[in-house]
Symmetry: D2
Subunit: 363 residues, 4 copies
């Protein structure tokens, strides 16, 4: 079974290796008549790119990815045709030689050894298909899904909730500041990012990295999205989040904290402990979820690694890698959420013999 397609009604197939000719996606299932232009996709791609300012330099990667996409199909006269939308993003400035000495070494925390075990053959340059580079294709696909969601009144907002032990103000707290998210390189919803900046700087000097948590909140969802058993909205989101390379945990609503609550506490109809999903179906309250990112495994600090022949070697990963991937992965989190939601908005059209009326008057 082929496994590079994500989604059912709104299905996205991605392709491409880090150091191949291009990465890209095919969006199959976007309905006809959606206004769409390439600039909208490029704008989302730009959000994924490192290098916006001095701070951002601290979260950059070895490659200047000036990602401009090309839309090959599915759009005509500024509107979607209902046919597959193919989008490619060329890989530029790929310095394959950076990876020559890692050819026979399995970098710790990477898919190097598992890939060899699986396929027996590997493009070792920059992680090949397992590279974060692949997520550019998802962000492009997500940009189209976001456009569709906006037409349906649905908005996605993500931010960095924590970097290591540093935690951002909670949503709704007085110092939570949405406008700041895209203004600082850490995507923290706060005017005070000094501590985060100091931590990142220190780790960079040490050649180390750190984990973080991304939080996401979706508003404007109708009650009804998601399927009762295997197509639960939160299960789909969990899969979507864990499909992002460095994600190790997922929570919907209260998440693990709910395991420590009593029923009388958790049931509170005025709280949103459920995170906007009950029985796998959206309640109409804001959807709230979190994804935990592990520290970037590519560190400059010397570390032990296994080589192909089984020996333990000391290595140091070259190049300028992200110290904390969470802020830069945030557009990927949003994109994956958008893909799920677009899929389920379409799905809900199939739920009843007679279509239910929607807010805008069309059924």
């Amino acid at each position: 079974m082929a496994r590079n397609t994500f989604g059912k009604n709104w299905a996205v197939t991605t392709f491409g290796e880090s150091h191949g000719a291009a990465v890209g996606c095919v969006i199959d299932g976007c309905p006809a008549g959606l206004p769409l232009n390439t600039a909208e996709i490029n704008a989302e791609l730009a959000r994924r790119r490192p290098g916006r300012d001095g701070g951002a330099a601290a979260v950059s990667t070895p490659r200047a990815e000036t990602d401009e996409c090309e839309v090959l199909s599915g759009v005509y006269e500024g509107h979607t045709l209902g046919t597959p939308i193919a989008i490619i993003i060329r890989n530029m400035n790929t310095r394959s030689s950076d990876y020559d000495e890692l050819k026979d070494i399995y970098r710790p925390g990477h898919a190097d050894s598992t890939w060899d075990a699986k396929y027996g053959f590997r493009d070792y340059r920059g992680g090949g298909r397992s590279s974060g580079r692949e997520t550019a294709a998802r962000v492009a696909a997500g940009a189209v899904a976001k456009k569709f969601l906006i037409e349906n009144g649905i908005t996605i907002l993500g931010w960095t909730e924590s970097i290591g032990e540093i935690t951002a103000p909670d949503f709704g707290a007085p110092d939570f500041c949405e406008a700041e998210i895209e203004r600082n390189p850490f995507r923290l919803p706060s005017k005070d990012v000094e501590k985060a900046a100091a931590l990142i700087k220190a780790l960079r000097t040490e050649g180390d990295s750190i984990g973080g948590v991304v939080r996401c909140r979706v508003t404007g969802l109708p009650a009804a999205l998601g399927e009762p058993v295997f197509g639960k909205l939160d299960a789909a989101l969990a899969e979507a989040m864990l499909s992002i390379g460095a994600v190790k945990g997922f929570e919907i609503g209260a998440g693990f904290a709910a395991s420590r609550l009593k029923g009388s506490q958790n049931n509170d109809i005025n709280a949103n402990h459920s995170g906007g999903v009950l029985g796998g179906i959206s309640t109409g309250a804001p959807l709230e979820f979190r994804a935990a990112f592990k520290p970037v495994p590519s560190i400059a600090m010397e570390q032990q690694a296994l080589s192909k022949d089984g020996a333990v070697r000391l290595i140091s990963i070259k190049g300028r890698h992200d110290v904390c991937i969470a802020p830069r992965a945030l557009p990927v989190v949003e994109a994956m959420a958008a893909l799920i939601l677009a899929d389920f908005v379409l799905e809900q059209r199939l739920a009843r013999v007679n279509l239910p009326p929607y807010a805008d008057g069309h059924a």
Copy 2:
């Protein structure tokens, strides 16, 4: 898109409402030649059933589920045929009248309101399709998958890691006792379950409930299972776990704790912070994951609820419901893990032009 099927190569479709004639499953993709008998499936169903002992009474439900399944197809002379295996479990002792007065009330924490929003029509008796009853079908399907995994040398072990704030000994700790798991009603890996028993008893008296965490460990996996991008093994497990009614969080390996670690700590090649998965593919180390369960929302204690007409009402849920669902859901966790793993064991047969040799000599 129909959404009651789980898995691709090893695909399971479940059906059935809590108070309908039966719940059941169709397993499509189980290879021909697997030894299988009904008793093996019933044994797993018995693990899901409440009422094993005095302690278990504390985690029981209103229904005596003496679940014996009937295998309708796919098995001949004690072996699977390669055709779909249909299994049904009749619903007995369904006291629908228990639910009459809840017909127009949306129980907090349940799928009642969302179901109405979605379909406009609902079988309100015991949650209908959203009932935990549906998981009996998954356990039956999981029993067959486990049989297949055992043939492949793969073993799944689950236990209750925590009930509320009470935490079991960690795996590998001196007081971690695997043999105790199935001996106490809480499925704690410990000889000392006094505190848990006291907590459950107190909550029962109060008419309240509590959350918990289930942990699962899989051994015997070859390195190679899982697909690099959208079919990541951990993403599939996350979806599988969140597809269980009360689950609100998922962690693979270090999980959320990884978000607080440095790269130099997390990369340690002697630890298993990855939980046995790198880049979505199994490493050959034990697979380790957790699922967080919210407290059972059906509580005897009086609580606020919304009625169909929008009014706030005070209700008290009748019947004997579980105080903590985690122990009883454990076989469901294992079953869902087994379905994923059986799917991926088959998937790996498709990865190479020439099939790789396996440990037992067959390719």
Copy 3:
């Protein structure tokens, strides 16, 4: 990849072997709110059953199939819930001993040898899963789909177009008589079925069988059903028809005759050479297609067969088998067409950003 599910939005999984406990289906994707009762399904099952009259005796099989189904799930208070509808039909009067002497012989024209080659293990009793018995499950599923189509104004009419060289009046000809179809055992649309009766009788005496053609005409379809490339309506119908055991050919509209026409003839906008499909999408004209059935391979006449050890043996198939399967397969043809059409009616709800208005005022 599991292959016992048919359809995407309206997905039907069938299960069951000829001489196992039951055959059945799970319908996943039927929208909520469709009026449905068991009698409607049994009525379609009765159409598939042999033995209606003296003539029908000529088209009977060794088993008296008094097929009454049981609906296990998905229906509540006379309406569909939107959840999977599981239906089972018990296998009665299965005389397995009839097949004992065929255990090691591959009946010509049957799946016996191919099944052994594929799975290495086989339920040889009555063809097992490859038996026509499996189509009872399809007819049950088709009955539900037909109900949905009727709600959408769509009607399916099938008839026997030919038995061997005997051809029925063409649709629209003066002697074409729709009312006769269900009145004669051959389902010929004609008051004059003497020749057919004589042919069947003669072949029965000889212990031989004969092929036939079923034709199907669907009216009330909106223009728009079907997808432009891989989901073409006619391609889906072709697959559906060839999925019926004895079908060897399929034609949409003019079919093979179109290969002998000129463009200037075939393009005629007043004819319906296209059969109601252009570019894979319904035109709004009646959908017209044909399925060719081979002669029933189970014949009483002595014939050569290969045995498991490779030797050629002379065999004579016992029991009362159909002489021409086409008339009795007609409800299966209609059922498969209904499944496709229900799938595509739902699919069309996904085609546009804003849903198009339909004739009945709902979008």
Copy 4:
């Protein structure tokens, strides 16, 4: 449900409109380690191209398609990686202005009217996504599948069996000449193509077109490919063939002729009336099937057409279109067959608990 993907284990998604930037495909499921280079794909694309010689001019289209593909991903150092293989073919020399006057006219026999009914919005230039141009992407995907099949000892041979009433020598007849197929512009397996040449020439002069039949024969198949119920090999081939624009009929083995045979004739174990498939599973005998092509609907001769506003108009289609599409569609037939077979070769790896041994010694 997205419908631009074909196949399950070997899944191909195509994209692209006739007059957009490019057409292309993503192959998901090709195993790792297959030797592959771009020239092999271009060689198959060249077979689909018109203009090989004087005769071929008679079957040309308005566009000089010098199709050279670009492989964007999935191949590294001359071998497949096991990741998606994305291939694009740029659209050159697209003279959109040819179609300006057809903007509001529905060409007879084309998908123009049905597309508008479906999507309400259309790229009318050259048929958009419904153009035969899309099949270039399938031929590229098929080239890779053929490579995989050759590794498995499977060979596909197609030829033109008839053009209008002119029929080629039957396979096995003394004048059947395989070597001639690629030597004459009609792909007839014969040294004598005078009559066909005269017919095509005459029709071209008249501004008319003609239908034809393509026949295909696959050798080297193991007994075992195909699934017993919904994944029948012949059903999959039927769907594959009808997914080609102009195909109106499909036959496996004896096809419609079988409907006129007696069981005692059709069962002959020395003939191959079944066409190499019994019960949906390959027998090991050569696979034999036919696809009937309607006459090309784009004719220069004046004809009636409906315009968007419902009026009947007289039109004459400009440009140099194929007179008979069958010969040029032959590589598409082969490509689609190759995709099905690659899918099923992989599928068979999933059939047994222990993998069966294959001829080449690997399991």
